[in-house]
């Protein structure tokens, strides 16, 4: 550690933790407990953060990481426990109080005004009640911050013109502009391309060296190993372990996080792929802003093959999937499923083509949350349960019972409302509906987003199972681990085009990462 950090710690009453002088604790959360209805999000969590430290908060989805940080940032009040900032006991009733204590938070979903410039976004809300906006003073302060921490973005660029990585820089600048010394980043790399991640990490190191203390929420092990000094593991709301990164390994952390050894995953070898079942020719699709999101894209996927479509979000993956599902009308191009052309913009035709369709957004597109499990299971084929215009509820019930047991869906019963199920079980409803009829083609968009490790494994197993029975599978995912684990071929989508296709067995992460960032040259 640099010597100047020790100098800064002088004058506080914090006792050194060990033989050599450790920097003082800037955050102490003691015995924090928080429950929502009957769910315990945090149970008796004690957590501390030292000055200049990068501490990773590791845990599966739903482990309570974000809740804990939302308590620290004043969004929620803890049911019990206390928080000390710089040794002082505090009680936050809103983020305003936390900001006053020089805490800043960068959320997973940015809170920027897209039509305003970087400078305006940074200044907004920090006027301190003054009537006139001192933009020139603000600009000076912003430029000084940018120079100091190497966060280069044009202060006059409207935010919507910036790439995601740039927008994240604006969020960080916003926090620094409010003099934050404690920075919370909630899964900051989830939306970034590998190059952008590297840049972010460089920024974080500069910040830490300048005395900023950083809490970094993640569930990606290699990132934690790379960036953090210390790692704290949360499992089901309980703080279960704490390690110095220099004294641990990815494998140990994985065990701590999941609570069991992650088996070394072996991709089942693929058989010889058969004839092409999904053929896309010259497909061009516009997005909601009437810009071409998918640009003259052609692709063949064969029977028994998984093609992984990697890419940073917002490069046309959503529009491609929507065109395949019949939810969006292509401008030009054709799609054939099993040799039959798919009429454009007709979801029913997409259903009837025998495509297994796993949409990106299971809550808003895939499911009828307010209806029962059995009603969700027959969304696409309810007409098959018809006699004389009436629904055969007995048959629908038997159908549901069978799928609930085949796909081990955990529910209070087939008539329970879907919204009472957990995320993993909601996805199982979709899997059951889409895969139980042995589809010839499967299009799975972000099939494991937001799921915990157990559910992810289940989804992967089902996808591999569909491949084994001869389906041609298009797996659209932003999770590179998933892409590498499952794909026979890996394609990368960038600005609506395919940057390149690599063999799944021999592709390098670096090559894929370069393609994802729009760099089209072979790796050195």
């Amino acid at each position: 550690m640099p010597a100047d950090r020790h100098a800064m710690s002088a004058g506080t009453e914090e006792a050194p933790a060990s033989g050599h002088t450790a920097p003082p604790c800037v955050v102490e959360m003691r015995s924090i407990t928080k429950t929502f209805l009957d769910v315990t999000a945090n149970s008796n969590v004690t957590f501390s953060l030292r000055e200049g430290e990068i501490c990773a908060l590791l845990g599966e989805n739903g482990a309570g990481k974000t809740t804990l940080m939302n308590i620290l940032f004043g969004y929620y009040a803890a049911d019990s426990g206390e928080i000390r900032i710089g040794g002082e006991k505090v009680s936050f009733s809103s983020p305003k109080d936390a900001i006053a204590c020089r805490i800043g938070m960068v959320h997973q979903h940015f809170t920027l005004v897209p039509s305003q410039t970087v400078l305006e976004n940074v200044v907004v809300g920090s006027g301190g009640g003054k009537f006139f906006l001192d933009l020139s003073g603000a600009r000076k302060k912003l430029l000084a911050l940018q120079e100091r921490f190497g966060l280069s973005v044009d202060p006059d660029a409207p935010v919507w013109t910036l790439p995601i990585g740039g927008q994240q820089k604006v969020e960080i600048l916003k926090a620094l502009y409010r003099d934050a010394r404690i920075l919370i980043l909630d899964e900051p790399t989830a939306v970034l391309a590998p190059l952008e991640t590297r840049e972010l990490f460089a920024t974080l190191r500069t910040l830490a060296a300048g005395g900023c203390s950083i809490i970094f929420i993640s569930h990606k092990l290699y990132e934690v190993m790379e960036i953090a000094d210390r790692v704290v593991v949360l499992t089901k709301g309980v703080l279960t372990a704490e390690r110095k990164v220099s004294e641990t390994s990815e494998r140990e952390l994985a065990n701590l996080m999941v609570g069991r050894d992650l088996a070394e995953k072996k991709r089942p070898p693929r058989g010889t792929p058969g004839s092409p079942l999904l053929e896309i020719r010259g497909l061009t699709v516009k997005n909601d802003r009437n810009l071409e999101a998918v640009n003259d894209l052609s692709l063949d996927i064969r029977s028994g093959e998984i093609l992984g479509m990697a890419g940073v979000s917002g490069n046309g993956q959503r529009e491609l999937a929507e065109a395949l599902f019949g939810l969006r009308k292509p401008v030009s191009g054709t799609i054939s499923v099993n040799g039959m052309p798919l009429p454009p913009a007709r979801p029913k035709a997409s259903v009837e083509s025998g495509m297994g369709r796993i949409p990106e957004d299971r809550m808003t597109t895939g499911l009828l949350l307010e209806l029962s499990v059995e009603e969700n299971l027959v969304l696409e084929n309810h007409a098959d349960f018809r006699s004389l215009g009436m629904l055969d509820h007995g048959a629908i019930g038997r159908h549901a019972e069978r799928l609930i047991s085949d796909f081990s869906i955990k529910t209070d019963g087939r008539t329970a409302k879907a919204q009472t199920l957990s995320g993993g079980n909601l996805q199982k409803i979709i899997l059951a509906r889409e895969l139980s009829a042995s589809p010839k083609v499967v299009v799975a968009a972000q099939p494991t987003r937001g799921l915990d490790v157990g559910a992810i494994e289940y989804v992967h197993w089902r996808i591999l199972d569909a491949r084994a029975s001869g389906a041609a599978i298009l797996l659209i995912s932003e999770d590179l681990d998933e892409i590498f684990q499952l794909s026979d071929r890996i394609a990368v989508m960038y600005e609506g085009r395919i940057m390149g296709i690599a063999d799944g067995g021999s592709a390098s992460r670096e090559q894929i990462g370069l393609w994802m960032s729009g760099v089209n040259e072979p790796c050195a």
């Binding site: 929502f36 209805l37 009957d38 009733s93 599902f325 939810l327 979801p347 029913k348 997409s350 259903v351 009837e352 369709r357 949409p359 808003t364 597109t365 895939g366 499911l367 009828l368 949350l369 307010e370 209806l371 009603e375 969304l379 696409e380 309810h382 007409a383 018809r386 215009g389 009436m390 629904l391 509820h393 409302k417 009472t420």
Partner: protein, 350 residues
């Protein structure tokens, strides 16, 4: 103050809520009754006696409940599929106009055939009138709340044109149509009362709507569109077709309310053929929680208040407007009760 979502309550609570809401409504309505100088006990006893106390009064309450049931069902059926039909009033008028037209010029056919003709015309007129906003919604994404509401005024003025023009009774200066033929009138089913065929049709409509909602493919699709149109479309359901058919049936039900008023009550078309049955239907549907059986009960409750308020007024001098106060109060109490069943509100100090 902290508001949190409640865990779903058991079924019996769901049934108890409207009953409790009605009791609270009556409790709160005591204030305006006392303010109007009425004796509370006498007021409420005279209200319920007036509505339910004698055979004739009870049957009169049924008569009043018929159009309210139709408009309540019309709204409930539309709202379930998220077609925001505020236009039951206009659809009722469309039905009344069509029924009058057929009723005046009915061909010489057996009475059953003429009645079927009258009902079909009224149903179709209401239904087609409701498909106008449905088409605007599905084709051009025009807001259905606005169009259904405004088309009420359009239909009212069309009726005005007809009653001062082609449908006006000859040699009269009043906006009033000639009487419909005897053969086109709903038969009275119980002696010494006005208990007519329309009441039976209303009960049948309740059962039919319940059957469509819970047993048919169309009911499933309407439910899917109602809770999540995007997911319904994803699953291959033709959302636009569901909305248009919903509008047709919803408007048809409202049209039947108009048919009943012409063919069983007034026998003429009048400018004030409906004292706002279409608007009451919205309140009734909400009070009945959009369920057809609940809607029928709510319609009957409203009818009790309306009919009973007349005797109350005679005996205690409280104006009959109290009926409208109670109806409005019922809606507010019901909405608050629904809020409380879904959310828990905790007062927090500081």
């Amino acid at each position: 103050m902290i508001i949190t979502k409640r865990a779903p309550l058991p079924g019996w609570v769901q049934v108890l809520v409207p009953v409790g809401a009605i009791l609270v409504t009556l409790l709160l309505s005591a204030a305006p009754i006392l303010f109007a100088g009425g004796d509370l006990w006498l007021s409420y006893t005279s209200l319920f006696k007036g509505a339910l106390g004698t055979r004739y009064n009870f049957l009169e309450t049924c008569v009043k409940a018929a159009p309210l049931t139709f408009t309540g069902l019309a709204v409930a059926f539309a709202f379930r599929a998220k077609f925001w039909n505020i236009g039951a009033e206009g659809q009722l008028l469309a039905g009344a106009i069509a029924a009058t037209w057929v009723g005046i010029s009915a061909p010489a056919l057996p009475k059953v055939a003429v009645l079927i003709l009258v009902c079909t015309a009224g149903f179709l007129a209401g239904g087609l009138w409701a498909t106008v906003p449905a088409l605007l919604k599905t084709k051009y994404r025009v807001d259905d709340v606005v169009t259904t509401l405004l088309l009420n005024y359009v239909m009212w003025h069309i009726m005005g044109y007809l009653l001062f023009g082609p449908l006006q009774m000859p040699n009269s200066s009043w906006p009033r149509s000639p009487a419909i033929l005897e053969i086109a009138r709903f038969p009275v089913l119980l002696a010494r009362s006005r208990f007519h065929l329309g009441i039976v049709l209303a009960v049948a409509a309740v059962l039919i709507v319940w059957f469509i909602n819970s047993k048919t493919v169309f009911g499933y699709r309407a439910r899917a569109v109602g809770v999540n149109p995007r997911a319904a479309a994803f699953g291959g359901i033709n959302v636009n077709s569901v909305i248009i058919r919903t509008a047709l049936l919803s408007g048809g039900l409202a049209g039947m309310a108009g048919v009943g008023e012409v063919a069983a009550i007034h026998f003429h078309l009048l400018m004030d053929i409906s004292p706002g049955f279409g608007y009451s239907g919205i309140v009734i549907a909400m009070l009945g929680r959009l369920h057809p059986l609940g809607t029928a009960l709510a319609a009957f409750f409203f009818s009790v208040i309306i009919v009973g308020a007349q005797s109350m007024s005679r005996l205690t001098g409280v104006p009959t407007y109290i009926a409208e106060v109670i109806q409005g109060m019922a809606l507010i109490v019901m909405l608050i009760a629904l809020l409380l069943t879904e959310y828990r509100i905790k007062a927090v100090k500081d």
